[in-house]
Symmetry: C2
């Protein structure tokens, strides 16, 4: 028997979910709340497994509630439900620790299916949501392979230390060479990266290379 709690501000919808959960012989409703206030306290003694979480709620919204719940009960699976699928919502929901993302247009049996999926380790979501997740993923994966810039080993070391916030003098000390050597390396690094300052070099290095 899967223990499910509901956070949903729409009374009608909330009751629909309650009935839905009670009809299925695999699920059981252990709580039903109109907003995210004191979510952690409300869940304290429910031993719940899955939460149906609306995003748009008054006072404390679904994202905030998800963050709080996941912090206290990381084992609980949270299924986000929303009428809209906005990039920002999805991004924040994922960061907050949501395990699935349903649209409110999902049919009743789809909700039960999703609950079963999520407890067996899946992340149910509509293909349209999945596309957005993939896009988010790709925008967050830096393109590592693109450019090597043909930096030599020593140049890479110098750049690394620069990224670590070291000054020329400190880098020279660390690499047992003179400060003028570091200057030389920096000149070469700037030429290879097509930049003209340390900050630019660091920004570029962090954005698309090593470190």
């Amino acid at each position: 028997m899967i223990r499910v709690a509901i956070f949903e501000d729409n009374k009608h919808l909330r009751e629909t979910y309650e009935i839905l959960l009670s009809i299925s012989d695999q699920t059981q409703c252990v709580g039903s709340f109109p907003d995210g206030r004191n979510a952690v306290a409300k869940l304290k003694n429910t031993a719940c497994d899955v939460i149906l979480m609306d995003i748009e709620m008054p006072n404390v919204n679904g994202i905030e509630a998800t963050t709080a719940i996941k912090k206290e009960f990381p084992q609980i699976h949270i299924l986000i439900q929303t009428a809209f699928f906005d990039d920002e919502y999805i991004f924040h929901a994922l960061c907050a620790g949501a395990s699935g993302y349903l649209l409110k247009s999902t049919k009743p049996e789809g909700i039960i299916d999703a609950i079963l999926e999520v407890v067996s380790g899946g992340s149910p979501m509509t293909p349209s949501i999945a596309r957005k997740v993939i896009d988010l993923f790709k925008s967050n994966v830096q393109i590592r392979q693109t450019s090597e810039y043909n930096l030599t080993n020593q140049e890479k070391k110098v750049l690394q230390l620069l990224v670590d916030g070291k000054s020329y003098k400190m880098i020279a000390t660390e690499l047992f060479v003179s400060i003028d050597t570091i200057k030389s390396h920096m000149r070469n690094i700037y030429a290879k990266l097509h930049v003209h300052s340390g900050t630019e070099a660091v920004a570029l290095a962090l954005r698309e290379k090593i470190v």
Copy 2:
């Protein structure tokens, strides 16, 4: 009529897909190949919309083929199909530009559904795959919320421009203030971030904050 091409080394499976595509009145098979060699050339005159791509293939595998095809025909939707769901596979498939990820256990009607989903802008995948995508996403997203450092709006702007590689002078020009004002902001930024140079500030900013 959706034009679909198949890359699949298993002859039996390949033929099954061909039949499946011909049965549906919404799809049409425009090519069927046992490996990824010369994929781009093979697709040249097919005007295909969707590709069913196996990962495990001899000579040129599905990931490599996907990369090549996406480079030449970015508008083509590629549905990866594999018997295993390995993190590395999924990661590389997404990076290569795959739009969906099916397991070979998917039923015939599921494949047709997935093709329809993908042309309408979705990314069909099983919940178990979706979970892995989410995990990959989270492992690639730096924790943004942690630290705000209480930077003021103007300080954030200055920092942003610094990260963009601008000098004090350029930042001053861009924000229509004097260079001494920028220095002032920089002093405050350094104090708040507990750093002592632009490179350190940029490294910190890129690692765990805005930008």
